[in-house]
Amino acid sequence: MIFLFTLLTQNGSQLKISLLIFGIVPFFITSLLSIIADIDKQEAELCKTLRMGPWRTLWEVVIVGRLDQVLEVMRQNFAIAWMMITMVEGLSMSEGGLGTMLIKSNKYIDMDTVFALLIIIFLVGLFFDWLLGRLRAWLFPYTSVQTAK
């Protein structure tokens, strides 16, 4: 598989990105499909009673109505991608990166660097998750408003 991707891409950076995308797409597509499958049929009926056409219904219910969930899926997928980065960088070591450093340090039993790298990966991951969470709350305020009891 790596061989095939190496042939298809022009440099190490492209190879890493292609491998990451290849790893993420199945998760992303299935999560998106499950969001669409979970849409209540009644929402389309509501659009009909409001005399909306099929395109407007698609826009209102599937696209705008589910953007917050799409971002949430992206957030989860980003977390998976972040976990995969060490693996991908380990597979394609020519470009360097945190994963390459981690694997090399591990090979020479340089545990101080391994732990430091693990902590950095963990903290950067947490930071990005927090950032995406803030973005979600800012773009879609209805996801974070207090729910009435």
Partner: protein, 265 residues
Amino acid sequence: MTHTRNEIILSAEGVGITYDRVILRDVTFQVHNITRPEVYQGQVLSLIGRSGIGKTQLFKILAGMLKPTTGTVRIGLDLHPVQAGEVGIVPQNYLLFRHRTVQQNLGIAMERSEKKRTEAETKEVIKEHSELFQLTEHLAKYPSQLSGGQRQRVSILQQILTGTKTILLDEPFSGLDVLMVDKVIELLVKVSLMDEHNTLIIVSHDVENALAISDTAFILAAQQGKPGATITETIDLIGLGMAWEKDIRQNARFREFTEQIKHKI
């Protein structure tokens, strides 16, 4: 009580639906425009039946959302076949667009109404109506911030603002406490008083509350030896002197009558 049953404004003719078995059979009924001297008001009807009898199917057929296997539903003064969008629906879960505020949910309802309005006029209409529906302070909120009763009011108002005269309400009393039921009844009466052609069709298994608010009720039940459910009885509550009475539920004769009907569904 002086009243006149005028032209037919909704008619179901031999409506039936069959899946792997017959669900509804030969459902036929008519809704007349009822007028009273010096009172400007619409109609309130109930379709009463027990759970699982096919009320939801009939509900969807009346709204033009589902094509019946047999028969047709006609609507309007010209009695044309009903099409989706001509009849408003207030679903049992008071569904609203969760990504839109109350104001936006109401605004979107007016986008496609027959009467074209400017943005300022739309805002004005929403303001007027939200006062009547006690929603003014909730206009900036999202549906998830509203209580069940508030959501129901938004849902009803949303359908009214589309300009639809006929509104179907699915189990509007279910899950509400006694005080809330009184408020809903009050609100529905208010809606029926808004326009002479406003027609509210309540689909419910709650015999007492449905009868208390209606001028006409149809019982949807199964007949012995025949498959599927049909209209087994039409109750003219005006003729019985039980319509348009605010405190009818305290009336002993009404209570006795309700008990009789409960045995028929």
